[in-house]
């Protein structure tokens, strides 16, 4: 809980700082404009969904580097099926769902049954799905043109707020809320969530306690790839067209960064869904800041993001160490038995 407050504090600080530097001091309204705020929420929601997915894998002590390429495969594949091959909508959606869940299943099987390292499996996935997508699309941009407006409103639409004009809750935010609540219930209120945390903490001990650890790990990869697929659908609905060469590039790293900022340890066994969502929001506000604040050159974006993540993780580690030391001196001391 303290951790969530901490990351929320950072989010607030960056948010207010950006407002200050981009709007108040230059005396204009770009950051706080309805358009920008709505867009910020929309992007946060989209990245939040894929970040929740990777959080499950990170909690097991694994990693998924293929997310960006899965976003690309699904994001290009869906318009390819709908616009180019004229598949009926339900069939196309079922197909992309099956493909993304299938990818997760294959990753999970390779990690558990073949005992391959998650890093290697999903790094190969990163290359493989991108290559496949560029192959079947022949590098042609995929999009919906003027069609499928209703379907696209899943990402572009908004739910109007009563008594507020010109500003609505973007649809992806509603989807994120549903995904987040379900993920949070699963992680904290069911035995399976407990099993995931337990095996992330110590896989061998979990196995020795009668937990089918392989099955739980496979499930985590399926959730991750499934949410990456959902993300791919929503991302392409949002922007309308996708280029196979770079659609979803680096998204896995933004997702992993959000999860880590949100309190997931790459050693496994730790993480909260709310923290991950706040982490995703922080990433988007940061990117927004770099775009809008004149003093920051656009081209050092990655350097700033890298520095902020590193700082956040270091501070967290220091705080943890101090807390552990304090605990050592109180609590159990003086008990010789």
């Amino acid at each position: 809980m303290k951790k969530i407050l901490g990351i929320f504090g950072i989010l607030l600080a960056v948010y207010l700082g950006t407002w200050m530097l981009s709007d108040i001091i230059p005396g204009r309204q770009s950051f706080m404009s309805d358009f920008n705020q709505e867009n910020l929420i929309r992007r946060t929601a989209l990245f939040g969904i894929i970040s929740i997915g990777v959080a499950f894998v990170i909690i097991t002590g694994g990693i998924d580097l293929s997310i960006g390429s899965v976003v690309c495969l699904i994001g290009c594949g869906l318009p390819w099926l709908l616009s180019e091959h004229r598949w009926p909508v339900p069939l196309a959606l079922a197909a992309v769902a099956a493909v993304s869940l299938g990818i997760g299943l294959v990753h999970g099987l390779m990690v558990t049954k073949l005992r391959l390292q998650p890093f290697v499996v999903t790094l190969c996935g990163l290359l493989f799905y991108r290559g496949i997508t560029r192959g079947f699309t022949r590098d042609q941009t995929q999009g919906f043109g003027n069609e499928f407006k209703e379907l696209r409103s899943l990402a572009t639409g908004e739910v109007p707020l009563p008594f507020v004009e010109g500003f609505g809750i973007p649809m992806p935010w509603i989807i994120l809320a549903v995904v987040g609540v379900l993920a949070s219930l699963f992680l904290n209120k069911t035995i399976y969530g407990r099993y995931l945390l337990a095996l992330g903490n110590n896989e061998e001990a979990a196995k020795y306690s009668g937990i089918d650890t392989d099955r739980m790990i496979i499930l985590a990869y399926v959730i991750c790839a499934g949410l990456a697929g959902l993300g791919g659908v929503l991302f392409v609905f949002d922007v309308n067209s996708a280029q196979p060469v770079d659609f979803g590039n680096f998204y896995e790293l933004f997702a992993i960064a959000a999860a880590v900022l949100g309190g997931c340890s790459l050693r496994g066994g730790q993480g909260t869904i709310l923290g991950v969502i706040i982490g995703a929001a922080l990433m988007q506000v940061l990117r927004n800041m770099i775009t809008l604040v004149d003093q920051i050159p656009q081209n050092i974006e990655y350097a700033i993001i890298g520095a902020v993540i590193l700082a956040g993780v270091s501070v967290d580690e220091l705080v943890k160490r101090v807390a552990a030391r304090r605990r050592k001196w109180t609590g159990t001391e003086g008990e010789a038995g």
Partner: protein
Amino acid sequence: MDTDADSPLLQVSGICKSFPGVRALHEVEFTLGRGEVHAVIGENGAGKSTLMKILAGVQPPDRGEIRIEGRPVTIDSVDAALNLRIALIHQELNLAGNLGVGANVFLGREPTRLGLIDEGVIRRESKTFLDMVGLSVDPATVVGSLTVGRQQMVEIAKALSIDARILIMDEPTSSLSQHETKQLFTVIKDLRSRGVSIVYISHRLGEVKELADRVTVLRDGENAGGLSRDEINHDSMVRMMVGRDISQFYQHEQHAPGEMALEVSGLRTPAHPETTLDFSLRAGEVVGIAGLVGAGRTELLETLFGVAPALQGEVRVAGEVLELRNPIDAIRAGIALVPEDRKRQGLLLEMAVRENLSLASLRRDKRRGGFLNRSSEREITSEMIERLNVKTPGDRQIVRFLSGGNQQKVVLGKWLAMKPAVLLLDEPTRGIDVGAKREIYGLMEQLAKSGVAILFVSSELEEILGMADRALVMHEGRITGEIARADLSEEAVMRLATGGDAMAAAG
């Protein structure tokens, strides 16, 4: 006091050291003379290893003084210890298994020429040290390909290469064959005659009797006494180590065994596929498995628990034939295992006491669609904390911060919550203090009384002699004999454990 030729080579006084929840050493005194083999003995958790780690600079003491030849010294790092020519040979060997013998001898101090490692010098010089320990292998041989006994000789050669005058050996024979042990003794005696002082830690009293010039006994982190050469005998050592009548410490009483609980026939484990195992256990029986490290005892328990499924053979619990492919199968049949290495296989160290205690029983919540039943979880947890007398500030305490004994109680509690019919315990009291030990024996006793069949592996003979209704002795994957409580003695167990005659083998 200044430097003085008459002062002992090493003198330690008033050493104190605490870990969270445990007082490991309290006002410990220790003196080591030149060219002396000085044994330090004591039960597990008595503080032997901590004292040695302090001498070798692995851990700093909280308080106390260390003098070498009368001069006070500070040993705050392994480097400092090496500069004082003190070398520690660890229980688990510290060698780079992928490198050659010579490279290991000079690891960290490689002779160089023009900035490159000088293989020629390594080859020539390591050869001399290898000769000193009677190891005739090519210095280029990869260490990982040697037997454990020979690897240990490499460690000793490494110590000699820094011209160590104090050599600390922590349980050096725990994984050696009899033949290798003999060789080690020859080397130790040879080193002594060269003037090297040796601190020898062991709980094999026979070895101590053969080697030691002097014995220091530790108990519960304090000095429990010392013995000079002519006072060293088995009884005096045991009395000092235990500090009380053994019969009082082990509260075991035999009761009428019940129904057949566990029957094992023709079992082949993956670790020792060449042998078959047959034995049985009745409800309420406590059976100990004795043997040397590597005799296949842990592997037997792991096969019974489904971690390493059997290649062949039959296991029955309460008459029913089981297929044990994984721990889930075993748990369903009422078999529970408290593993040897609780930190690796028993505990979620970074999680709370509550989450550890409930872990194995959560499966019952599958009936509720997998949703956790928090109130029943809290109930089980507080019941177990009370029943096992787990000393913890609360059930949200992270397990890592508990003492070894309380951690072990948490592992036990995890299984008691599911009421096992057969309880397998692998070294149930390793590394825990005497108080917790007694509580765990009490608990085993209480479980046996309530009809649980208990099968435990132990390397501590006292524990086998004190707790078992009967003992199975293993050697190189085979059960070499079975000894009834009335006939249990240290000699009888050791003879079978070292592969001596199998005359006591009975059905």
